[in-house]
């Protein structure tokens, strides 16, 4: 049974979420305080974290950074704030995805969770070389000049998707579909922020990227080497 950690300070909402998740077949743990979130994460070792942004004592953004420092486990932010900075800040802290309160329905949330927990696509190649990078598809590992680069599963998936079709330009909507598993209601900021994060880990100069290249007005593609 897959485990979901629910970090939400509103106890009624926390209970509703855990109840619905348990009904849907997940094992859950609810935390209502920012400070307790990271210890709970270490104890519970969840497969996915649902993380509210506005938390007492420690914000969701900080909790997200703490978790990302040690783990690539999928994190979905819950936010009532729709302002750009808030969403972008959460994504930059390492969240894979975000969902606005109130979500259209629990089913939508469930679909997002499932998309994040779905096992990685199988690839025909077991190893892809992209410039200075060696992508070990089976081992879920990326090495740059022999040194291991730590990527979250989502970042790995994004890189793998681009690297598998080195000549293809991916529209942001295509990437949302392929990497995030969305089919509608897409927010292309997700792609932008994650490409930035990915670049900061793999590029020599993230401001002048060579591996993940922007195709102006279209989207992204893998660099030509």
């Amino acid at each position: 049974m897959q485990k979901v950690l629910v970090v939400e300070d509103e106890l009624p909402l926390n209970q509703q979420l855990t109840d619905l998740l348990e009904n849907a077949g997940y094992q859950t743990m609810g935390v209502t305080d920012g400070e307790n979130a990271f210890p709970a994460f270490q104890d519970f070792a969840p497969d996915l974290v649902l993380l509210d942004v506005m938390l007492p004592n420690k914000t969701g953004i900080e909790v997200c950074r703490e978790i990302r420092a040690v783990s690539g486990v999928p994190i979905i932010m819950l936010t009532a704030k729709t302002e750009d900075e808030h969403v972008v800040e959460g994504l930059e802290a390492g969240a894979d995805d975000y969902i606005l309160k109130p979500m259209p329905s629990f089913k939508v949330l469930q679909a997002r969770i499932e998309a994040r927990l779905r096992p990685m696509r199988q690839s025909e190649a077991s190893e892809i070389v992209l410039g200075p990078l060696v992508i070990d598809v089976l081992g879920h590992e990326v090495r740059r000049d022999g040194v291991r680069v730590s990527l979250t599963p989502l970042e790995f998936n994004l890189l793998q998707t681009l690297a598998e079709a080195p000549k293809q330009v991916f529209k942001r909507e295509d990437l949302l579909k392929k990497v995030w598993g969305y089919h509608y209601d897409a927010d292309t900021r997700l792609v932008n922020v994650h490409v930035q994060r990915l670049r900061s880990k793999i590029e020599d100069d993230p401001d002048n990227p060579k591996i993940v290249v922007t195709e102006r007005g279209v989207g992204y593609k893998a660099g030509q080497f």
């Binding site: 509103e10 619905l20 009532a80 309160k101």
Partner: protein, 524 residues
């Protein structure tokens, strides 16, 4: 070219108070100086002339009396002796003095019975024709009296003003003669000319000085006014901290003080208003956000109940249905409120990119087909053959279109709704026309107002929030476009959305007709 120059001059004249007042001062003082100078030179000229005439008459009287005396006294009747006497006396009358010359002529009066046997002596540079005929007639009729006339005498190509004085002289035996003395009065004319030119130069200098004085005086008065105008303009443009310098106790200082007080009170009031308005926007935004978390909980709880709907009795089911629909309505209200508060806070930025309006309209129409089908309403879409490319934020424009089309379906009384797309060089447009219940004039005037509903009692299928058209109008203004409506009760309503083709583009006409424009909302 010339008219251009003239209009430029006129423009300066019209715009600058200073130029205007200096010009008026100079023109008026010039007129006054011309009048005074004219009067002066006329009076002085007359005086000079009269003095001269009196002098001339005095001299002539003497001369003529002496001549008469000489001829009367002579006892000579001999022609030769008389001629000698004439030749002796008359040329003696010629004078050349510093004051001017005197010329002389002795002419025989015409129409006498006796024949002429004396030669008429005449000064060398004088001819008989210089003596006006009218004067001669007058002399002939007058006895013992001097008659004079002013003439212009030409000598050496120069015309000089002169006075001719005539008198009758009787020469024994020879008959009646006329003695003419011609006085050159150019010296008087010269005096007058000199005086006039002095007056003219003095006048010109005076006008120039007056112009300069007027310039400095008006400068003193206009400068503070100009400064006030500049500061007022800056205030109007939003620099509320602009003030005028307050110096002295005069009316200008009083103006500056009052102006500054006014600016201060404006700044304070606007500051307070904007603070209040910000607080209010903040409040609306905070409330909307704060309500989101409990709303999420209620929604999830409702879903939990929905999953167990079979376990509920019919009344509880109905209650659950109500709960579900009202939660949905609550949510859309919150969303719209938040959107409006963002507009009020000026926090909305359009993501404008090149798009095909036809595609966006098609998408909006296809999204609303299910609603149209439910209400038995046919949607007719009329697209131009060419793509309707324009720059806009597709998400916002689709929202506007969805809102307008769903309104048309709802109020269309089941009759077809026609959606037409048009383009011109400068603009693109969509009209949404229904043949439904329509609106009265007063209803139409309020149609874009927040929370306004045409008919509060009307059953609403889509559970609108009352903010839809207000948001649509804001979205349109964000694109610097027009959103207009025309309507007649029981005949239907047409909305028209017009957008510039390019960002910041200017258009004066929509590519599509709206029909009778009864109420119009466009860019403010």
């Amino acid at each position: 070219m010339l008219s251009k120059f003239a209009s430029a001059i006129f423009d300066v004249f019209r715009r600058s108070i200073q130029v205007r007042y200096v010009t008026i001062t100079v023109a008026l003082s010039a007129a006054a100086l011309v009048a005074v100078g004219g009067f002066l030179s006329l009076t002085i000229g007359n005086g000079l002339f009269q003095t001269r005439v009196e002098q001339v008459l005095q001299e002539s009287k003497q001369a003529s009396a002496e001549v008469q005396k000489t001829f009367t006294a002579t006892g000579n009747t001999d022609v030769v002796a008389l001629q000698t006497l004439v030749n002796e006396v008359i040329p003696n009358l010629e004078q050349k003095t510093a004051n001017g010359s005197r010329k002389v002529a002795l002419l025989r009066s015409p129409n006498q019975a006796t024949s002429q046997f004396l030669q008429s002596p005449i000064s060398g540079d004088l001819t008989v024709s210089d003596i006006p005929a009218s004067l001669r007639e007058q002399v002939a009729k007058t006895e013992n009296k001097l008659v004079y006339r002013t003439i212009s005498l030409e000598s050496g190509g120069v015309l000089s003003p002169s006075i001719v004085v005539g008198s009758k002289v009787v020469i024994p035996v020879a008959g009646d003669y006329e003695l003419y003395l011609v006085y050159d009065i150019s010296d008087a004319q010269e005096t007058l000319d000199f005086m006039q030119s002095t007056l003219a130069i003095g006048g010109l200098v005076m006008i120039l000085l007056l112009g300069i004085v007027a310039y400095f005086v008006t400068r003193r008065i206009v400068a503070p006014v100009e400064r006030a105008a500049l500061v007022a303009e800056q205030l109007a443009l939003g620099s509320l901290d602009q003030r005028l310098p307050e110096r002295g106790q005069d009316v200008v200082a009083a103006l500056a003080r009052s102006f500054n007080r006014m600016a201060q009170s404006l700044e304070t009031q606007i500051g307070q208003l904007s603070k209040l308005s910000k607080m209010q926007q903040r409040f609306v935004s905070d409330v909307s956000h704060e309500l989101r978390t409990p709303l999420t909980t209620i929604k999830l709880a409702t879903e939990m109940l929905e999953a167990r709907v079979e376990e509920l009795d019919p009344k509880a089911r109905r209650a659950l249905d109500t709960l579900v629909s009202q939660v949905a309505r609550f949510e859309s209200l919150l969303t719209d409120l938040l959107e409006i508060s963002r507009y009020d806070a000026g926090a909305v930025v359009a993501e404008i990119e090149p798009n095909n309006l036809g595609d966006v309209v098609t998408l909006a129409v296809s999204g609303l087909e299910p609603l149209a089908e439910t209400l038995g309403c046919e949607l007719i879409l009329k697209l131009p053959s060419r793509p309707v490319d324009a720059d806009f934020d597709p998400r916002r424009i689709e929202r506007v279109l969805r809102n307008l089309i769903s309104n048309a379906i709802e109020h269309g009384a089941g009759k077809p709704v026609e959606i037409q797309v048009g383009r011109s060089k400068t603009a693109v447009a969509v009209t949404i026309k229904d043949l439904g219940v329509g609106m009265s004039r007063s209803q139409m005037d309020r149609v874009f107002d927040r929370f306004w509903r045409g008919d509060p009692a009307r059953k609403r299928t889509t559970g609108g929030t009352g903010l839809g058209l207000a948001i649509s109008l804001e979205d349109t203004h964000l694109h610097q476009g027009w959103l207009q409506v025309t309507s007649k009760p029981n005949q239907g309503t047409t909305f028209r959305l017009t957008l510039p083709r390019r960002v910041g583009g200017i258009f004066t006409e929509s590519p599509l007709p709206l029909g009778e424009i009864l109420s119009q909302r466009s860019k403010i």
